[in-house]
Protein backbone atom coordinates (compact mmCIF):
# COMPACT_ATOMS: atom_id res chain seq x y z
CA UNK A 1 0.00 0.00 0.00
CA UNK A 2 1.27 3.48 -0.82
CA UNK A 3 0.80 6.56 1.27
CA UNK A 4 1.69 10.23 0.95
CA UNK A 5 3.70 11.93 3.68
CA UNK A 6 3.43 15.45 5.07
CA UNK A 7 6.18 16.70 2.74
CA UNK A 8 3.84 16.59 -0.30
CA UNK A 9 3.21 20.11 -1.64
CA UNK A 10 0.81 19.13 -4.42
CA UNK A 11 2.99 19.56 -7.54
CA UNK A 12 1.11 16.68 -9.23
CA UNK A 13 4.14 15.09 -10.88
CA UNK A 14 3.07 11.71 -9.45
CA UNK A 15 -0.32 12.11 -11.10
CA UNK A 16 1.36 12.65 -14.47
CA UNK A 17 3.66 9.67 -13.88
CA UNK A 18 0.93 7.23 -12.87
CA UNK A 19 -0.14 4.95 -15.72
CA UNK A 20 -3.18 3.63 -13.86
CA UNK A 21 -4.81 6.95 -13.11
CA UNK A 22 -4.68 6.08 -9.42
CA UNK A 23 -3.60 9.52 -8.21
CA UNK A 24 -5.50 12.77 -7.86
CA UNK A 25 -4.03 16.03 -6.65
CA UNK A 26 -5.60 19.16 -5.25
CA UNK A 27 -3.26 20.79 -2.79
CA UNK A 28 -1.98 17.32 -1.93
CA UNK A 29 -1.82 13.94 -3.64
CA UNK A 30 -4.35 11.20 -2.88
CA UNK A 31 -3.67 7.62 -3.99
CA UNK A 32 -6.43 5.14 -4.68
CA UNK A 33 -4.79 1.95 -3.43
CA UNK A 34 -7.48 -0.22 -5.04
CA UNK A 35 -6.31 0.95 -8.46
CA UNK A 36 -2.58 1.28 -7.69
CA UNK A 37 -0.33 -1.57 -8.89
CA UNK A 38 2.68 -0.46 -6.83
CA UNK A 39 4.87 0.03 -9.91
CA UNK A 40 6.51 2.90 -8.01
CA UNK A 41 6.88 5.11 -11.07
CA UNK A 42 5.32 7.92 -9.03
CA UNK A 43 8.14 7.76 -6.52
CA UNK A 44 10.71 8.39 -9.25
CA UNK A 45 8.86 11.59 -10.16
CA UNK A 46 8.33 12.95 -6.65
CA UNK A 47 10.78 15.78 -5.88
CA UNK A 48 10.03 15.63 -2.15
CA UNK A 49 10.35 11.95 -1.30
CA UNK A 50 6.74 12.08 -0.18
CA UNK A 51 5.62 8.66 -1.41
CA UNK A 52 6.14 5.68 0.88
CA UNK A 53 5.23 2.04 0.65
CA UNK A 54 3.97 -0.07 3.55
CA UNK A 55 3.31 -3.74 3.46
CA UNK A 56 -0.13 -4.63 4.81
Amino acid sequence: MLYITESCVGCAQCMFACRKGAIEVEGKAIIDNDVCSECMRCRDYCPLDAIRIVSE
Binding site: V9, C11, A12, Q13
Partner: protein, 397 residues
Protein backbone atom coordinates in the same frame (compact mmCIF):
# COMPACT_ATOMS: atom_id res chain seq x y z
CA UNK B 1 39.89 19.11 -13.52
CA UNK B 2 36.68 17.47 -12.48
CA UNK B 3 33.35 19.16 -11.73
CA UNK B 4 30.27 17.67 -10.15
CA UNK B 5 26.88 19.29 -10.71
CA UNK B 6 24.08 18.49 -8.28
CA UNK B 7 20.74 18.66 -10.07
CA UNK B 8 19.80 18.90 -13.75
CA UNK B 9 17.56 21.98 -13.65
CA UNK B 10 18.23 24.94 -15.94
CA UNK B 11 20.97 26.23 -13.64
CA UNK B 12 22.72 22.87 -13.49
CA UNK B 13 22.58 22.30 -17.24
CA UNK B 14 23.84 25.81 -18.08
CA UNK B 15 26.69 25.43 -15.59
CA UNK B 16 27.63 22.03 -17.00
CA UNK B 17 27.68 23.59 -20.47
CA UNK B 18 30.05 26.38 -19.48
CA UNK B 19 32.32 24.11 -17.43
CA UNK B 20 32.59 21.51 -20.18
CA UNK B 21 33.55 24.26 -22.64
CA UNK B 22 36.23 25.37 -20.20
CA UNK B 23 37.66 21.86 -20.35
CA UNK B 24 36.31 20.38 -17.13
CA UNK B 25 35.23 16.75 -16.89
CA UNK B 26 31.62 17.22 -15.82
CA UNK B 27 29.27 14.77 -14.17
CA UNK B 28 25.67 15.68 -13.29
CA UNK B 29 23.77 13.78 -10.61
CA UNK B 30 19.98 14.07 -10.77
CA UNK B 31 17.72 12.63 -8.13
CA UNK B 32 14.59 12.22 -10.28
CA UNK B 33 13.92 9.91 -13.23
CA UNK B 34 14.03 12.79 -15.75
CA UNK B 35 16.23 15.83 -16.32
CA UNK B 36 15.12 19.48 -16.34
CA UNK B 37 13.80 20.05 -12.82
CA UNK B 38 10.97 22.59 -12.77
CA UNK B 39 11.45 23.49 -16.43
CA UNK B 40 10.32 20.52 -18.47
CA UNK B 41 7.21 18.90 -19.95
CA UNK B 42 5.32 15.99 -18.51
CA UNK B 43 2.66 14.65 -20.82
CA UNK B 44 -0.77 14.18 -19.35
CA UNK B 45 -3.79 13.06 -21.37
CA UNK B 46 -2.05 14.20 -24.54
CA UNK B 47 -1.28 17.70 -23.23
CA UNK B 48 2.29 18.89 -22.67
CA UNK B 49 1.93 20.05 -19.09
CA UNK B 50 5.01 20.96 -17.10
CA UNK B 51 6.84 20.26 -13.88
CA UNK B 52 6.78 23.98 -13.09
CA UNK B 53 7.23 26.68 -15.70
CA UNK B 54 4.44 28.12 -17.83
CA UNK B 55 6.39 27.35 -21.03
CA UNK B 56 7.55 30.95 -21.16
CA UNK B 57 10.98 32.50 -21.52
CA UNK B 58 10.55 35.92 -19.90
CA UNK B 59 12.44 37.92 -22.58
CA UNK B 60 11.91 35.55 -25.49
CA UNK B 61 14.62 35.28 -28.15
CA UNK B 62 16.23 38.58 -27.05
CA UNK B 63 17.14 38.04 -23.42
CA UNK B 64 20.08 36.55 -21.50
CA UNK B 65 18.48 33.09 -21.40
CA UNK B 66 18.21 32.83 -25.19
CA UNK B 67 21.70 34.33 -25.43
CA UNK B 68 23.04 31.53 -23.25
CA UNK B 69 21.31 28.90 -25.40
CA UNK B 70 22.92 30.36 -28.50
CA UNK B 71 26.33 30.60 -26.84
CA UNK B 72 26.22 26.94 -25.88
CA UNK B 73 25.01 25.95 -29.34
CA UNK B 74 21.60 24.70 -28.19
CA UNK B 75 19.18 24.96 -31.06
CA UNK B 76 15.77 26.07 -29.81
CA UNK B 77 13.19 27.96 -31.81
CA UNK B 78 11.56 30.65 -29.70
CA UNK B 79 8.37 32.39 -30.81
CA UNK B 80 8.38 35.93 -29.44
CA UNK B 81 4.98 36.85 -28.08
CA UNK B 82 2.93 39.33 -30.08
CA UNK B 83 1.27 41.13 -28.48
CA UNK B 84 3.55 40.75 -25.48
CA UNK B 85 0.66 41.19 -23.10
CA UNK B 86 -2.96 42.13 -22.78
CA UNK B 87 -4.87 43.03 -19.65
CA UNK B 88 -8.41 42.03 -18.83
CA UNK B 89 -9.73 44.98 -16.85
CA UNK B 90 -13.37 45.78 -16.03
CA UNK B 91 -14.39 43.12 -18.50
CA UNK B 92 -12.47 44.66 -21.41
CA UNK B 93 -9.23 43.47 -23.00
CA UNK B 94 -6.49 46.08 -23.48
CA UNK B 95 -3.12 45.61 -25.11
CA UNK B 96 -0.41 46.53 -22.62
CA UNK B 97 1.96 49.08 -24.13
CA UNK B 98 3.51 52.14 -22.51
CA UNK B 99 0.47 54.17 -23.64
CA UNK B 100 -1.77 52.00 -21.45
CA UNK B 101 -0.62 53.94 -18.41
CA UNK B 102 -1.96 57.43 -17.76
CA UNK B 103 0.60 60.14 -18.41
CA UNK B 104 0.27 61.35 -14.84
CA UNK B 105 1.30 57.89 -13.60
CA UNK B 106 4.29 57.85 -15.91
CA UNK B 107 5.38 61.23 -14.54
CA UNK B 108 4.84 60.15 -10.95
CA UNK B 109 6.85 57.02 -11.67
CA UNK B 110 9.76 59.03 -13.05
CA UNK B 111 9.63 61.23 -9.95
CA UNK B 112 9.66 58.20 -7.61
CA UNK B 113 12.61 56.68 -9.47
CA UNK B 114 14.46 59.98 -9.16
CA UNK B 115 13.72 60.21 -5.43
CA UNK B 116 14.86 56.63 -4.92
CA UNK B 117 18.15 57.40 -6.67
CA UNK B 118 18.80 60.54 -4.66
CA UNK B 119 17.59 59.51 -1.21
CA UNK B 120 18.26 55.77 -1.45
CA UNK B 121 15.45 55.04 0.91
CA UNK B 122 14.28 51.42 0.59
CA UNK B 123 10.61 51.23 -0.31
CA UNK B 124 8.44 48.35 -1.40
CA UNK B 125 6.98 48.37 -4.88
CA UNK B 126 3.54 48.72 -3.31
CA UNK B 127 4.51 51.85 -1.33
CA UNK B 128 5.68 53.20 -4.63
CA UNK B 129 2.52 52.62 -6.65
CA UNK B 130 -0.07 53.10 -3.93
CA UNK B 131 -0.76 56.68 -5.04
CA UNK B 132 -1.18 55.72 -8.69
CA UNK B 133 -4.33 55.19 -10.76
CA UNK B 134 -6.37 51.96 -10.22
CA UNK B 135 -5.31 50.35 -13.50
CA UNK B 136 -1.60 50.71 -12.73
CA UNK B 137 -2.07 49.42 -9.20
CA UNK B 138 -3.96 46.34 -10.33
CA UNK B 139 -1.57 45.77 -13.19
CA UNK B 140 1.42 45.93 -10.82
CA UNK B 141 -0.21 43.34 -8.59
CA UNK B 142 -0.94 41.03 -11.52
CA UNK B 143 2.55 41.46 -12.98
CA UNK B 144 4.21 40.54 -9.67
CA UNK B 145 1.91 37.55 -9.21
CA UNK B 146 2.41 36.19 -12.70
CA UNK B 147 6.11 36.88 -13.23
CA UNK B 148 7.50 36.51 -9.72
CA UNK B 149 4.72 34.85 -7.71
CA UNK B 150 4.92 37.47 -5.00
CA UNK B 151 2.95 40.45 -3.77
CA UNK B 152 4.14 43.96 -4.58
CA UNK B 153 4.25 44.58 -0.82
CA UNK B 154 7.10 42.05 -0.62
CA UNK B 155 9.09 43.35 -3.57
CA UNK B 156 11.78 45.95 -2.84
CA UNK B 157 11.33 48.77 -5.33
CA UNK B 158 15.03 49.06 -6.14
CA UNK B 159 15.07 45.45 -7.31
CA UNK B 160 11.87 45.91 -9.27
CA UNK B 161 13.42 48.86 -11.03
CA UNK B 162 16.13 46.54 -12.39
CA UNK B 163 13.52 44.13 -13.70
CA UNK B 164 11.62 47.04 -15.24
CA UNK B 165 14.82 48.16 -16.97
CA UNK B 166 15.38 44.65 -18.30
CA UNK B 167 11.84 44.52 -19.69
CA UNK B 168 12.46 47.84 -21.43
CA UNK B 169 15.72 46.55 -22.84
CA UNK B 170 14.87 42.97 -23.80
CA UNK B 171 11.10 43.25 -24.21
CA UNK B 172 8.48 40.64 -23.40
CA UNK B 173 8.23 36.87 -23.38
CA UNK B 174 8.51 34.07 -25.89
CA UNK B 175 7.49 30.43 -26.12
CA UNK B 176 9.92 27.69 -27.18
CA UNK B 177 8.52 25.43 -29.89
CA UNK B 178 8.09 22.08 -28.12
CA UNK B 179 7.75 23.83 -24.76
CA UNK B 180 10.22 23.75 -21.87
CA UNK B 181 11.32 20.25 -22.72
CA UNK B 182 12.66 21.32 -26.12
CA UNK B 183 15.12 23.55 -24.23
CA UNK B 184 16.19 20.70 -21.95
CA UNK B 185 16.53 18.18 -24.80
CA UNK B 186 18.70 20.44 -26.89
CA UNK B 187 20.87 21.40 -23.91
CA UNK B 188 21.41 17.75 -23.10
CA UNK B 189 22.36 17.01 -26.68
CA UNK B 190 25.03 19.72 -26.48
CA UNK B 191 26.27 18.49 -23.11
CA UNK B 192 26.54 14.90 -24.25
CA UNK B 193 28.55 15.92 -27.29
CA UNK B 194 30.86 17.79 -24.88
CA UNK B 195 31.34 14.55 -22.95
CA UNK B 196 29.19 15.49 -19.93
CA UNK B 197 27.67 12.50 -18.15
CA UNK B 198 24.22 12.67 -16.58
CA UNK B 199 23.11 10.12 -14.03
CA UNK B 200 19.36 10.08 -13.37
CA UNK B 201 17.92 8.59 -10.17
CA UNK B 202 21.22 9.38 -8.45
CA UNK B 203 20.54 11.71 -5.52
CA UNK B 204 23.56 13.28 -3.89
CA UNK B 205 23.40 12.29 -0.24
CA UNK B 206 26.22 14.37 1.15
CA UNK B 207 28.74 17.02 0.19
CA UNK B 208 32.14 16.08 1.60
CA UNK B 209 33.85 19.07 3.17
CA UNK B 210 37.32 19.62 4.56
CA UNK B 211 37.83 22.98 6.28
CA UNK B 212 36.87 25.66 3.80
CA UNK B 213 36.89 23.45 0.71
CA UNK B 214 34.80 20.59 -0.60
CA UNK B 215 36.37 17.30 -1.67
CA UNK B 216 33.45 15.80 -3.54
CA UNK B 217 30.09 14.18 -2.91
CA UNK B 218 28.58 10.96 -1.73
CA UNK B 219 26.14 9.21 -4.08
CA UNK B 220 24.54 5.87 -3.28
CA UNK B 221 26.97 5.49 -0.42
CA UNK B 222 29.98 5.97 -2.68
CA UNK B 223 32.50 8.79 -2.31
CA UNK B 224 33.18 10.67 -5.54
CA UNK B 225 35.97 13.25 -5.57
CA UNK B 226 35.98 16.45 -7.59
CA UNK B 227 37.75 19.80 -7.84
CA UNK B 228 34.58 21.86 -7.87
CA UNK B 229 30.96 21.27 -6.95
CA UNK B 230 28.08 23.27 -8.44
CA UNK B 231 24.77 22.92 -6.67
CA UNK B 232 21.47 23.58 -8.47
CA UNK B 233 19.28 22.80 -5.47
CA UNK B 234 19.31 26.14 -3.65
CA UNK B 235 21.21 27.24 -0.57
CA UNK B 236 19.04 25.59 2.08
CA UNK B 237 19.26 22.05 0.66
CA UNK B 238 22.92 22.55 -0.21
CA UNK B 239 23.73 23.67 3.33
CA UNK B 240 21.93 20.59 4.60
CA UNK B 241 24.13 18.33 2.45
CA UNK B 242 27.32 19.93 3.82
CA UNK B 243 26.07 19.60 7.40
CA UNK B 244 27.91 22.85 8.14
CA UNK B 245 26.24 24.59 11.07
CA UNK B 246 27.51 28.00 9.94
CA UNK B 247 26.17 27.60 6.43
CA UNK B 248 22.84 26.26 7.70
CA UNK B 249 22.30 29.17 10.06
CA UNK B 250 23.30 31.68 7.38
CA UNK B 251 20.58 30.48 5.00
CA UNK B 252 17.95 29.69 7.61
CA UNK B 253 15.80 32.71 6.81
CA UNK B 254 15.53 32.36 3.05
CA UNK B 255 11.89 32.32 2.06
CA UNK B 256 10.78 30.57 -1.13
CA UNK B 257 7.89 31.95 -3.17
CA UNK B 258 4.76 29.84 -3.46
CA UNK B 259 2.30 29.55 -6.29
CA UNK B 260 -0.54 27.65 -7.91
CA UNK B 261 -0.82 26.79 -11.58
CA UNK B 262 -4.04 25.52 -13.15
CA UNK B 263 -3.83 23.87 -16.57
CA UNK B 264 -7.05 24.05 -18.55
CA UNK B 265 -8.20 22.50 -21.82
CA UNK B 266 -10.45 24.63 -24.04
CA UNK B 267 -11.83 24.02 -27.52
CA UNK B 268 -12.22 27.66 -28.50
CA UNK B 269 -9.22 29.96 -27.98
CA UNK B 270 -9.58 32.04 -24.83
CA UNK B 271 -6.48 34.24 -24.64
CA UNK B 272 -6.24 34.27 -28.44
CA UNK B 273 -2.58 35.31 -28.76
CA UNK B 274 0.96 34.20 -27.90
CA UNK B 275 1.51 36.64 -25.03
CA UNK B 276 0.39 36.87 -21.43
CA UNK B 277 -3.11 37.94 -20.49
CA UNK B 278 -2.99 39.65 -17.12
CA UNK B 279 -6.26 39.34 -15.24
CA UNK B 280 -7.06 42.40 -13.17
CA UNK B 281 -10.65 41.64 -12.16
CA UNK B 282 -9.84 38.48 -10.22
CA UNK B 283 -9.28 37.69 -6.60
CA UNK B 284 -6.22 35.42 -6.99
CA UNK B 285 -5.35 34.51 -10.58
CA UNK B 286 -2.74 36.97 -11.86
CA UNK B 287 -2.70 35.97 -15.48
CA UNK B 288 -2.79 33.22 -18.03
CA UNK B 289 -1.30 32.18 -21.33
CA UNK B 290 -2.33 29.96 -24.20
CA UNK B 291 0.86 28.32 -25.38
CA UNK B 292 -0.88 26.42 -28.18
CA UNK B 293 -1.08 29.79 -29.97
CA UNK B 294 2.67 29.39 -30.54
CA UNK B 295 2.85 25.63 -30.86
CA UNK B 296 -0.32 23.67 -31.51
CA UNK B 297 1.46 20.41 -30.67
CA UNK B 298 1.42 21.27 -26.97
CA UNK B 299 -2.19 20.00 -26.93
CA UNK B 300 -4.04 17.24 -28.78
CA UNK B 301 -5.87 18.20 -31.99
CA UNK B 302 -8.88 20.44 -31.50
CA UNK B 303 -7.74 21.79 -28.11
CA UNK B 304 -5.94 24.78 -26.72
CA UNK B 305 -3.92 24.67 -23.50
CA UNK B 306 -4.49 27.56 -21.10
CA UNK B 307 -2.34 27.90 -17.98
CA UNK B 308 -3.20 30.24 -15.12
CA UNK B 309 -0.86 31.31 -12.35
CA UNK B 310 -1.46 32.83 -8.94
CA UNK B 311 0.69 33.52 -5.89
CA UNK B 312 -0.24 31.88 -2.57
CA UNK B 313 -1.24 34.46 0.00
CA UNK B 314 -2.59 32.67 3.08
CA UNK B 315 -1.17 29.48 4.59
CA UNK B 316 -4.21 27.48 3.47
CA UNK B 317 -3.43 26.08 0.02
CA UNK B 318 -6.87 24.50 -0.44
CA UNK B 319 -8.52 27.85 0.23
CA UNK B 320 -6.17 29.50 -2.26
CA UNK B 321 -6.97 26.85 -4.88
CA UNK B 322 -10.69 27.40 -4.35
CA UNK B 323 -10.32 31.12 -4.92
CA UNK B 324 -8.38 30.35 -8.11
CA UNK B 325 -11.09 27.98 -9.31
CA UNK B 326 -13.73 30.61 -8.61
CA UNK B 327 -11.76 33.18 -10.60
CA UNK B 328 -11.44 30.72 -13.45
CA UNK B 329 -15.17 30.06 -13.48
CA UNK B 330 -15.89 33.76 -13.60
CA UNK B 331 -13.35 34.33 -16.38
CA UNK B 332 -14.65 31.46 -18.51
CA UNK B 333 -18.30 32.48 -18.14
CA UNK B 334 -20.44 30.11 -20.18
CA UNK B 335 -17.57 28.73 -22.24
CA UNK B 336 -16.71 25.06 -22.12
CA UNK B 337 -13.49 24.23 -20.30
CA UNK B 338 -11.93 21.30 -18.53
CA UNK B 339 -9.42 21.41 -15.70
CA UNK B 340 -6.49 19.12 -16.45
CA UNK B 341 -4.35 19.68 -13.38
CA UNK B 342 -3.99 21.86 -10.33
CA UNK B 343 -0.36 22.11 -9.22
CA UNK B 344 0.78 23.85 -6.08
CA UNK B 345 4.35 24.84 -5.25
CA UNK B 346 6.03 25.60 -1.95
CA UNK B 347 8.81 24.50 0.40
CA UNK B 348 11.52 22.55 -1.39
CA UNK B 349 9.60 22.54 -4.70
CA UNK B 350 8.56 26.19 -4.90
CA UNK B 351 8.10 28.75 -7.67
CA UNK B 352 11.40 30.31 -6.60
CA UNK B 353 13.76 28.93 -3.98
CA UNK B 354 14.38 32.47 -2.86
CA UNK B 355 11.66 35.09 -3.34
CA UNK B 356 12.41 37.63 -6.07
CA UNK B 357 14.47 40.54 -4.84
CA UNK B 358 15.81 38.63 -1.81
CA UNK B 359 18.55 36.68 -3.55
CA UNK B 360 21.78 36.16 -1.64
CA UNK B 361 24.21 35.33 -4.44
CA UNK B 362 26.04 32.20 -5.49
CA UNK B 363 28.80 32.04 -2.87
CA UNK B 364 28.90 29.55 -0.03
CA UNK B 365 31.29 29.31 2.93
CA UNK B 366 33.28 26.84 0.78
CA UNK B 367 35.68 28.14 -1.89
CA UNK B 368 34.98 25.55 -4.54
CA UNK B 369 31.24 25.12 -3.95
CA UNK B 370 28.79 27.49 -5.64
CA UNK B 371 25.02 27.55 -5.88
CA UNK B 372 23.22 28.26 -9.17
CA UNK B 373 19.58 28.20 -10.26
CA UNK B 374 16.71 30.16 -8.78
CA UNK B 375 18.16 29.84 -5.31
CA UNK B 376 20.99 32.12 -6.38
CA UNK B 377 19.67 34.33 -9.14
CA UNK B 378 20.93 37.68 -10.23
CA UNK B 379 18.45 40.42 -11.06
CA UNK B 380 16.07 39.27 -13.75
CA UNK B 381 12.81 37.42 -14.08
CA UNK B 382 12.93 33.68 -13.43
CA UNK B 383 15.14 31.75 -15.88
CA UNK B 384 16.60 35.02 -17.19
CA UNK B 385 17.96 35.70 -13.71
CA UNK B 386 19.25 32.11 -13.57
CA UNK B 387 21.20 32.61 -16.81
CA UNK B 388 22.80 35.81 -15.51
CA UNK B 389 23.58 34.15 -12.16
CA UNK B 390 25.24 31.14 -13.79
CA UNK B 391 27.56 33.38 -15.80
CA UNK B 392 28.66 35.21 -12.63
CA UNK B 393 29.16 32.00 -10.67
CA UNK B 394 31.16 30.29 -13.42
CA UNK B 395 33.42 33.34 -13.83
CA UNK B 396 34.31 32.94 -10.18
CA UNK B 397 35.32 29.28 -10.31
Amino acid sequence: MKAIVIGSGIGGLFSAGILSEKGYDVVIYEKLAFPGGRFTNLEYRGFQLTTGALHMIPHGSRGPFAGMLRKLGADVEIVDSAPEATALYNGEVYEVVSDSFPILTVMKFAWEVFKEKIFRKEKSLWDMVSGFDPFTKKFTRAFCGWSLSILPEDMPFSRMKKIYDMVRRYRGPGIPIGGCRAVIDSLIEVLESNGVKIFLKHPVERIITDGSIVRGVEVKGERIESDVVVSDIGHSLTAGLTQSEDYMSWVENLIPSRGIKISVAVKEPFVGHTGVMFTLDTERISGMNEVTQADENLAPGGYHLVMTHQPVITSNVRYEINLGLKDLKKLMGDREYEILAIQSYSGDWPVNRVSAGRDVGFRTPFENLVVVGDGAKEDGIEVEGIAVGVVRAMEEL
